[in-house]
Every structure is written in C-alpha cells, then in structure tokens.
C-alpha cells in the first residue's frame, strides 16, 4: 500500500523555553530540532504497515531548507521517499499549510491509500492540518488514533497495479474518549491522525542512516500567504517558575517529607 506521512520540524526544547527579542519565535540558538512526537509515531506506523502489506512510505514536510534534516531522520526510520515543500523561514498557518499539502498530493495524482498525520504539532498545537487536508481531498478523516489496523477487504483487489488508491483496504481505528474506547471503521483512502503511544518508534539502523544520507529529496516551493489568525507576539507565561522549598537532603529529609504529606492530607 502507498502511504504518505506528514511531519513538522519543531525546536527541541528542554527545561526552559526562550522567546526571541522580537517576540516572534522560539529562540533556537541553543537547541536542536526534531519531528513532533506524534508524527514520529505516524512514520513508524506507516513503515510497519508497508512492511506488512508491501508498498512504500513517502514522508512530506513543509518547512525551511534545513527541514531536510528531519526528512532524512524519517528516511532512516524506513520511509522510502521524501518531499520538502520549502518555505522562506516564515511561520505558516494551518490553513495555508493544509492547502499546500493537498496541492502537492493532487500534483502527484492522489496515489495514496493512507495519509498519516500527527494529532497536533508540538509547537503550535493547531489540531487541524489533517482535517483540512481530508476536506480538500474529499477523504474521510479520524483523529487522535492510538491503535490502527488495516485489513484487506474480503472482496479483494487490494494493491494490484492500476487499482484506484485505497481500493480493497479497510481500517479500524481506535482512540480513547473519557476513559472509554471509541472505534471507527473506515474505508481507505482516508486521513488518519495519530497520537504517541500508538507504537514505540524504532531506533534508526546504520544501513538506514546511510541510505537516508544519500537519498534524493523532491523539492518545490509553494508561495506563503497570510491567514485569518495573525500572531502578534509570543511570551512565556508569568509566574510559572518558582524556587522549591528544600525539605532536606537524602533519606534524612524523610521526617520532613512525612510531615508535609500529613499536612497535605494524603496520608491515610
């Protein structure tokens, strides 16, 4: 089966988040970059499905030229092909991003049985790129998925050359809602956004890394456009940092800790 997975390059932030002086971006001078966690799981899921059902995995990102690093990371995990929709470094909103992704899919003839996304990007958390792409392409969409099974329908016909995308495949997707499991049964092609926990991504193999280093990356540069949600300024919320009262050091602190737990009313 043919699978497209969309990923986003985001800063790798650790214990503290710092905003640039102009308030427009996260200061990344001291940090590296990575792929949003949900999306790394989406790539792992895609690779597992391709290993089981045959076919290939294309990984796509919209980002600056340096986002090629993240594409190569995903190629090293087992993706087959990489597509970079290159930007000039300005932040793209979710509406324009979804339109550019949908246009790139159409330009390739919509050959994908399954489009996998992360549920939300780690940085902007917009929760909508996958849904907007699904509408642009007229595909069904499920989000927040923690378990995905793809089966070949009983009437067969899957994966044969020349067949329409998704023909003969079905998916059963599960997620949690208020502690209850929700199950969605959908025909493919479809858009599915997943959450971390759907799988445990593998570490890249050495041959995978070498292959990723040499792989060609398809590139195009869609034009940026403004949208109806306009960022004015980013800021770190006030009052988030404090200094803990130190109860003591090592096991000697245990009596003070017990007294505190008692005071908080959590000892039974």
């Amino acid at each position: 089966m043919e699978i497209l997975t969309c990923v986003k390059r985001v800063p790798m932030v650790g214990g503290k988040i710092v905003v640039t002086a102009d308030g427009q971006d996260v200061d990344t001078r001291m940090s590296g970059f990575t792929v949003s966690p949900h999306e790394e799981c989406a790539v792992e899921e895609a690779v597992r499905l391709a290993e089981r059902h045959g076919g290939s995995v294309t990984v796509l990102t919209l980002g600056p030229p340096a986002a090629a690093d993240q594409l190569r990371d995903m190629l090293a995990l087992g993706a087959t092909r990489a597509v970079l929709l290159e930007t000039d470094g300005r932040e793209w909103g979710p509406v324009a991003t979804a339109e550019a992704i949908a246009a790139a899919i159409r330009a390739r003839g919509c050959p994908y049985d399954l489009l996998l996304f992360g549920n939300e990007a780690a940085d902007t958390g917009d929760y909508q790129a996958a849904v907007r792409v699904a509408h642009a392409l007229g595909l069904p969409c499920v989000t927040g998925i923690k378990n995905l099974e793809v089966t070949v329908a009983a009437d067969g016909g899957a994966a044969s050359d020349g067949a329409a995308a998704g023909k003969g495949f079905r998916a059963r997707a599960r997620r949690e809602y208020r502690g209850v499991e929700e199950v969605f049964e959908i025909p493919l092609p479809a858009v599915v956004s997943v959450k971390e926990g759907i799988n445990l991504p593998r570490y890249p193999s050495l041959p995978g890394r070498l292959r990723a280093k040499r792989a060609a990356i398809e590139q195009s540069a869609p034009p940026w456009r403004p949208e109806g949600l306009r960022k004015e300024r980013l800021r770190v919320p006030a009052g988030q940092t404090k200094r803990a009262e130190i109860l003591g050091t090592g096991p000697d602190a245990v009596p003070a800790l017990v007294a505190l737990l008692d005071e908080l009313g959590v000892l039974r």
Partner: protein, 348 residues
Amino acid sequence: MTVLCLVELDGDAVADVSLRALTFARSLAASAASPAGGAGPRAGGADGGAGRAGEGVTAVVFGEAGSVPVADLSAYGVAGACAVESGELTGYAPQAWARALAGLAAGRSATAVVAAGTDRGSEVLAHLGAITGQPMAANCVSAEVTGAGSVRLVRQRWAGSLLEDAVLDGSPALLTVAADAVPAAAAGQPAETSVRAYRPVLGEADLRVRAAESAGRSAGASLATARVVVGGGRGVGGPDGFGVLEELAGLLGGVVGVSRVVTSEGWRPHRQQVGQTGTRISPELYLACGISGAIQHMAGCLSAKHIVAVNTDPDAPIISHADYAVIGDLNQVIPALVAAIRARGTTP
C-alpha cells in the same frame, strides 16, 4: 451577538470541560456588548435580564431536546439551547456534528463558535473550519471582540508552556478553549434557558465516520483523575526500579505516572506518561521522582495543586516548578519514605 458553544455531556450533566467553555463563551459574548475591552465574567445575556432572544450564548447539545441539562445551562447564563436531533446521528460523528454547527451558525448569524479543546471539540471545530473555509484558533485562554469586529485572543502553544497574543478574523470566529487554563464560573444571574430542537441537513460524506463505543474502559482514566500521582523519570534507572514507586502510590491511594523518556525507552507503557503527549493530571499532590522537568512534562501537570520533587540535582528545572524538594537519590529516599509511612501506620 450570538456565540454558539458546543456542549459535551458527562452522563446527563454538562461535562466540566464544557462548563469552562461556556464560561469562556459568556465572557466573549459580554465583550461584544462593551468592546472597549472591559470583558468581565458577566453573562452575555445579562443585559436586561434574560437578554433578547438569540443574543448571548447558545448552547449546542447533540441529543434529544429532553436530554438537554437545562439546570446546568441556566446556572451558566445560557439563554438558548439547541438540541441537535437526527435519526442518522445515533453516535458521535465528527463531520456530521460540524455540518450541524455550520447550519446553526449560518441560520443564527453567529459571531463565534466555541468548543472545549478536547479531542472531540478540537476535531469538530477543525471540520467546521474546513467546511466554512474559516480559520480556527486552538486552545484559547481568553478572547474579546474588538471594535473592528475581530477577536483579540491569547492562546496556548507548546501545551501551555508558551502563550501567543493573536488576532482572529473569521466569520464566524472559531475558537477552542484550553480547558486547564479557564476555570468554570457560573453566571452572576441564572438565565431562563429555552430549548429548541434542530434537525441538521446531512450529506452522505458527513456520516462516513461514526464512532462505535466499545465497552472496554481504558487504563488512562485513573491517572487523569488521581488525587495523588507518584512520578518516575530517568532517575529511576531502568524498568525494574518502579516497584517502590508503585508501593508508595499504593500507600497514598494514588497511581504511578512517568516522564516521556521512560515510555520512549519502553520501561513503562505509554498510558502512564504524564505530559504534552501523554496524560494531563490534576492531583492534590504530584511527587516527581528522578524527573528533570522538561517543559513537555511540566505541561502535563500545570493543574497539580502541590508538586514535590525528589532529585539529585538541585539545579534541575523541576526545582523551579516544584513547591517543595528533597535533594537526593530517589532510590534511597523513596524506600525510606515507604518504611516511615508503614511504621507510622503500625505505631499510632
């Protein structure tokens, strides 16, 4: 102006997250009445008692009119409620819910549509954005209508570790509410809530995706609602080190939660992860052991009442987020704590 608010139910009451969304929606509607920016938490429908029909917040509930929790809505100052009734809508169907909201928003010339930033709220509003061709602002903390008719808002990025000041131009404006940052507050004056039924016009494509609920209750629920969470991070050292944390959690009537590195290493299952990509917790006490305190982890415990850290490093970021700390190795401190609690139990 009319603000539509998607209301999710918990049994036959309004879910807590939706009470928060209703509070947010009421504040947004009130800001339109006084667009100078002095948006207080007064009800939008509070101008002149119940307000004019169709003004203020209209709650949208999916179900029969008889199932609408009128008492809850009244307390939150909601003057009107729409019960979306459809023979085809027996369960949750995200695109169909969005189609119904689109019909209601158009029919009532809604200025804004608000939903809690839950899996369902985020998903339904994203569909509504795609159907209407409008932008959507996710995880808003506050919002007010400006004189120019735009919505000036503050929303979360990085799951609340960062805030964005932004302006939203949309018709209607679509906003989800960051549930753990907006407290629920009843209206100063209850409203007389009238309920009307609405039958949406749905297409075949709107009903392609429908949820079937399975009976199985997932294990994540207890972590989200636990009164005490004992957290374990890299400092636990490996998959075999969690026994003593489980033992302590058991003594305190709580559960174990872990950091992302613990689930990424496969030491513990992902359902135990606390953080941006795991579970959001809101316990009375979070005892974070051997956890450095990366922002993605702290985003999952913004609602914890008290945080106590046990860490070998006095300069770890967690120390700047905790109320109290013990500087030391959890593998020595926690067994001693367990022994002390047990001893306390036997010698009153």
